[in-house]
């Protein structure tokens, strides 16, 4: 068999391990971890790895887990953690801190709906809740992509033109606990792809304090710098794609992945594995002569506005599917991209799969049919996947 049967969680842990080892000639690897379903198996595997010059620290909470990463990253170590749902919510303050301190922490999130009551299954509400925090956010659709994207995330985060933390997201159970054939690169390959981290102004012999008092003008400049770094992500990512392909022999997907979208009468836009299901629905519809197309948004932050606008050009009807709900508003992705379509195009928002319902091709075909038959866009539609 080409590759190993790995779960998404283990793919992430192995990716982090390889990346951590790759910094053994640098300042090493530090990870602060705390378990929560469904990301627990990732940190469990990580805790059992031997990483030269690596420290995996089990702490008493997610907030402290991120604090460990902040301290480690500030010292120049390559850092990683993983969490989900209310664990990410608990971590939130330090998530923001890591980004505002411009530290290249990488986090793997196993997307689980927020609670209480306690539901362990998938939706994107946990990481999208932190969309304004200043982290790069990447959403994956299969286990190979999880492993590969994790490696890319370190490259992106640590590039001097960026220096921002990065989130690699996979849906609970659908990816985190599902085993697929996954090619695991050699350490040698990862060493080539991820050179040792050389963090500017890292904590060294001189004692320093991280953070401090600021005034409005300084904050304005910091935020502008941060925004500019986000904007530079596109060009850096293209280089990362090229280098990844050169080292590993496969090319990471683009920030936006079209599928039979060029001539689509209805374009379905989504993130994560719902996009895989959408592609199956597209094939079914096309076989019946319906011109359905799909767009998968892989990079949520920075938001690929230009790429989406280009993909939307000429498309008359767009169905944006959110596996989340910004309560009081509608789907987050819909909110961010609805203005990018042609004037006069019909952009309708749909929310489905919240709390982990099994979204099937039939649901997407129903959505496409609704989008096809509407006179005009209306308020966002909340749909039940059932069970």
């Amino acid at each position: 068999m080409n590759g190993q049967l790995l779960s998404g969680n283990h793919a992430a842990a192995i990716g982090a391990t390889l990346a951590g080892r790759a910094n053994r000639t640098g300042r090493g690897f530090v990870s602060g971890v705390y378990p929560i379903t469904p990301s627990t198996e990732c940190m469990e595997l990580l805790c059992n790895q031997e990483i030269e010059k690596g420290h995996v620290v089990r702490v008493e909470s997610e907030h402290s887990a991120m604090a460990v990463c902040i301290g480690g990253a500030a010292s120049g170590a390559r850092t990683f953690t993983t969490s989900s749902s209310n664990g990410i919510a608990y971590m939130a303050e330090n998530v923001v801190a890591a980004a505002l301190l411009r530290l290249p922490v990488v986090m793997a999130a196993a997307n689980r709906t927020l609670g209480p009551p306690w539901n362990v299954w998938a939706d994107h509400g946990d990481t999208l809740m932190l969309r304004d925090s200043g982290w790069i956010q990447l959403y994956c659709a299969d286990n190979q992509e999880v492993l590969d994207t994790l490696l890319c995330a370190f490259r992106l985060a640590e590039d001097r033109r960026i220096l921002l933390p990065a989130l690699v997201c996979q849906e609970a159970f659908v990816l985190s606990h599902t085993m697929e054939r996954t090619i695991v690169p050699t350490q040698d390959q990862v060493d080539r792809f991820l050179p040792p981290l050389d963090l500017p102004a890292r904590l060294d012999r001189t004692a320093r304090v991280l953070g401090g008092i600021s005034v409005p003008h300084v904050t304005e400049v910091h935020r502008a710098q941060h925004q500019a770094a986000m904007d530079r992500t596109w060009e850096v990512y293209r280089e990362v794609q090229d280098e990844f392909e050169a080292v590993f022999g496969r090319r990471p997907a683009d920030p936006v992945v079209p599928y039979r979208a060029d001539d689509a009468d209805v374009l379905v836009v989504s993130m994560g594995t719902i996009a895989s299901t959408a592609e199956r629905a597209v094939d079914e519809a096309r076989a019946r002569g319906i011109r359905l197309g799909s767009l998968r948004v892989r990079t949520f932050r920075p938001f690929p506005a230009a790429l989406l606008a280009a993909a939307f050009r000429g498309r008359p009807r767009i169905a944006v599917i959110d596996r989340n709900v910004s309560l009081g508003f509608g789907g987050v992705l819909w909110g961010e991209c609805r203005g990018l379509a042609d004037p006069g195009a019909m952009v309708q928002g749909y929310m489905i799969g919240i709390g982990g319902g099994d979204v099937r091709p039939g649901h997407l075909l129903a959505i496409a049919e609704d989008a096809a038959s509407r006179g005009s866009a209306g308020t966002p539609v909340m749909m039940e996947a059932g069970a």
């Binding site: 049967l5 362990v120 299969d142 085993m179 895989s276 059932g386």
Partner: protein, 740 residues
Amino acid sequence: MGVTESSRGALPAGIPLPLEVRVHGRGGQGGVTCAKLVATIYAEQGLHVQTFGDYGSERTGAPVRAFARVDTVPIRNRNKVYRPNHLIVLDAGLLAEDVLEGAEPGAVVLLNTARGLAPFADKHGHFRFAAVDATAIARRHGIGTSAVVIINTTLAGAYARAMGLPWEAVERAFAVQGLARDLPAAREAWDAVLVREADDGEETAARGASPPSKVIGIAEQVRDIPTPLQTGSWRTQMPLYRSHAAPCNAGCPAGNDVVGFVQALATGGVEAAARVLFRTQPLPSVCGRVCPAPCMSACNRGAYDGSVHIRGLERWIGDHVAPRPERPVPAATPRRVAVVGSGPAGLGAAFALATAGHRVVIYEGESCLGGVLRTGIPAYRLPEEVLDRDIARIVALGVEARTGTFLDAAAVAGLARSHDAVILAAGLPRLTGLEAPGVDLPGVLQGIRFLDDVKRGAAPRLSGAVIVVGGGNTAIDCARTALRLGASSVAIAYRRGRKEMPAIGPEIDEAVAEGVKLLLHRQPVRVGGEGRVQSLELAEVELGEPDASGRRRPVVTGRTSSVPCDALLLALGQSADLSIVPGLPNVFTAGDMATGDGTVAHALGSGRRVAAKVLAALAGEPEPVEERPSPEALVAPAHVRFSHFEVELPHAERHRGIPGQGLGFDEANLGLDGPSEASRCFSCGACTECDTCLLYCPEGVIHRIGRGYRIDEAFCKGCGMCVAECPRRAMEMVFEVSAR
């Protein structure tokens, strides 16, 4: 090098692609790994695979599912498996309608079952069925534990065979997953799996997924326990309320319901306790004073803070119960039974027969009823008026007593003709003598006769040194009586040691406390004196070779010494006189005459059982059999939850005075000062409705119903906490038998 398209390769023709496999199991059986193994088998053949589990917070035993998909191209299907081509069922007990949901006719079902293919043939004929007893195979190979056998690897072997996959693929998959040690079990299942093809023709519409359940508003989500999730399906064993035999009951030779009367005393008072006790015990005030109380030796509380003082409680009931005036209702067919002997066996038989409404006549040779209770037990142990009270209760039932009437064999035969039956309970009138020179000298008395004389007021004068020979209760009674009659010193000579003395332990202690000396390992070999007893020659006794019973035989040595002796009382044992037993079918023996067990309780039990035997024989029915519980069926100390009980030492009986303050014949033991000792009874094996089960149930599914409890089977998960916490083994877990 990307992920390339793979070909079907050597995959058997009958396997469709894309393939969808669904596994149904119980948490802990390894269903998720089973699906992973199946996926690995295909992955090792170059195919794309995907596998994942479907479960939430279910624990061991709860139904869980897992899926696997196989295809020649990368799999984009992220949904659960709704239309399985292959179904693997790890536990045939799960084989209900929803397990087969979505399976098309011709789908393959692989079942872990011990019952082979036959039971499933008619119901699921349109499926291709495979069956193997993976549990037995895995258990033999020691995979998992004997309580939780893990069958996933075994079943994977059967799966591969049933699907026509090569064994090499199984070997490779196991090696890749690090499970090579389970290959022998998988191979055995490979060899053992039976396959039955689908029936032709019958098309049944495949059922789709059931519609989603309605969601109610969050404010309406408030639910009291139990929740709507019917977790009863998680259960493989079930708690039941079941009584178990208490060791006190099992140990009582009279067959008293000890737990019953003690609990009745604790919760209902003297009258309630008496109603239970009088079913089997007509002499509570007697036994409450003289019984060796095997119930107390067996009492489980003895392993905690001290046995319940059951004998004292029995005495309390006998001493405080109100007189029972009513006569019993005559039986439908009243029998006429003659009872010969009014000791405890005869009284017990008479009581049982009279209570059942039959006509009883007691013949007694002495002038008063009571037998050895009257003649052989000293008044300081059993006052006359106490004995009279117990006997009067029996006579008040309408029993006719003819005292002063000794009977010989001819007389007994005559009774057998004039009555429906005769019960001979004449005790042990033959007294064992001493073989030694000088035993005919005046001053050598049989102990039993001595005690009788004392009770009739014809006590001989005793002074000086009195020696009693023997180690049983009669010897103790003689010794303590001799003290009370003025002997200046009293000693008991016994040929074995203290431990071997058959007398009741506390009685020996009381004798020693009163000043009786024990001359152990001593045997009288010569009685000396001129005209009367003046001395006794005692030989030392050693333990020699073991006899047939395994006890070392006492061997009389030649080392002797002489002690002064003014009176010698012999208490060497008694035997029956069977010459009065005619060989007639309606004549029965009871008590010591029949069994020689030697205690009042044995005699009472014997009398009651022989009475039942007599009535059955007269009615032409088989002899009633009293079930004796096996040792495993008894409640043992390990079954009692000591942590539920506060430490409370047993109440002690009060005793009159101390030695040296003038011993008299007034009752020495004044008994308990109240019945509160009864509340120390654990009630072993009998539910007391303490609510412990109800309180400890984590699901809140045990409810009171009138007297007793009901367990809600729709929700009980079979966790067993109620049974584990029951303080007294009044519950039991039983395995649920389903289609395994």
